[in-house]
Symmetry: C3
Subunit: 125 residues, 3 copies
């Protein structure tokens, strides 16, 4: 199997109102996002898919988070905007995207809330 991974970032504000500590305050992060797709076959160019196309699709999703107050967004209406739910939101949005051709699937989304703290969402594992 081949796995393609691309990395991007977004900056946003959030808070976890019912958290017993500093995270309950309004604050923010530079989140780093790693998206991995996989496929068994290569196309006539020798690629699972074009990095450029993958970056464009991920970019559209990340644009819905970048420089927003996450708690205000529809995606986090009923959940806290934790790294867990941010990863799940990005994964679910991409998984419903018809741009990915047959034979290519999203494998996981990893969200780094700091250079030392990450959550990976891999629903198939």
């Amino acid at each position: 199997m081949y796995e393609l991974t691309i990395i991007t970032e977004f900056e946003a504000a959030h808070q976890l109102p019912d958290y017993p500590g500093k995270c309950s305050r309004l604050h923010g992060h530079n989140w780093k996002v790693e998206v991995t797709v996989c496929g068994q076959e290569l196309n006539h160019l020798g690629m699972v898919m074009d990095f450029k196309d993958l970056k464009a699709e991920v970019g559209k999703v990340v644009d819905t988070l970048d420089h927003y107050y996450l708690n205000d967004l529809p995606a986090f209406k009923s959940t806290n905007p934790t790294a867990e739910y941010i990863a799940k939101y990005i994964y679910d949005t991409l998984a419903n995207n018809s741009v990915f051709q047959q034979g290519i699937s999203i494998r996981c989304v990893q969200v780094w809330e700091s250079p030392r703290s990450a959550v990976k969402y891999c629903p198939q594992e």
Copy 2:
């Protein structure tokens, strides 16, 4: 499944007495440690577990290695303090820790002996 990963470091001295080369000399490293835990469910805050709690537990284990001569420690009485056995020691110590709640388990521990050399211990794979 969700995976949480946190990164920390420790600095220590070690030597591999029966190694046929430079590693037999007393030397040291800055080891980077990546600990990954996993869980299927999120708690009421939207987390597998608090990064802060995971860092605290890993910190307790890493404190037993930091700024020591590893060959002198009980953990390496009968084995060489290689990256392999360091990863296994951290994993085993965490796996026996009752702080991790039901439904959360240690998945793997990766120890970087240099920015280009790592060992990952994943006993369940």
Copy 3:
């Protein structure tokens, strides 16, 4: 299971003649290569295998790519030198290498074409 990962780099030129865009032009990259081998057992030194030996074997393969025009090489006679086929070439060459002892196998090769774009080849997954 234990996994050993080592990281190295090579610099080379390539082009994808039939690609509809900039990659069809002659250009080049600093490719970063991560090779992972795995084993269940540790030897008498407490290692899956010596990092030094793994680096030496990977170095021999990477030397066949470093500072070449990849499209000219026998390895890419019938395929484009994409990150996908570069990862597969490194994996296949290492997998046929008798230096790896019984019980140690190549798990995957990940090739970073930029700090934000990678392909991992894992034929066993």
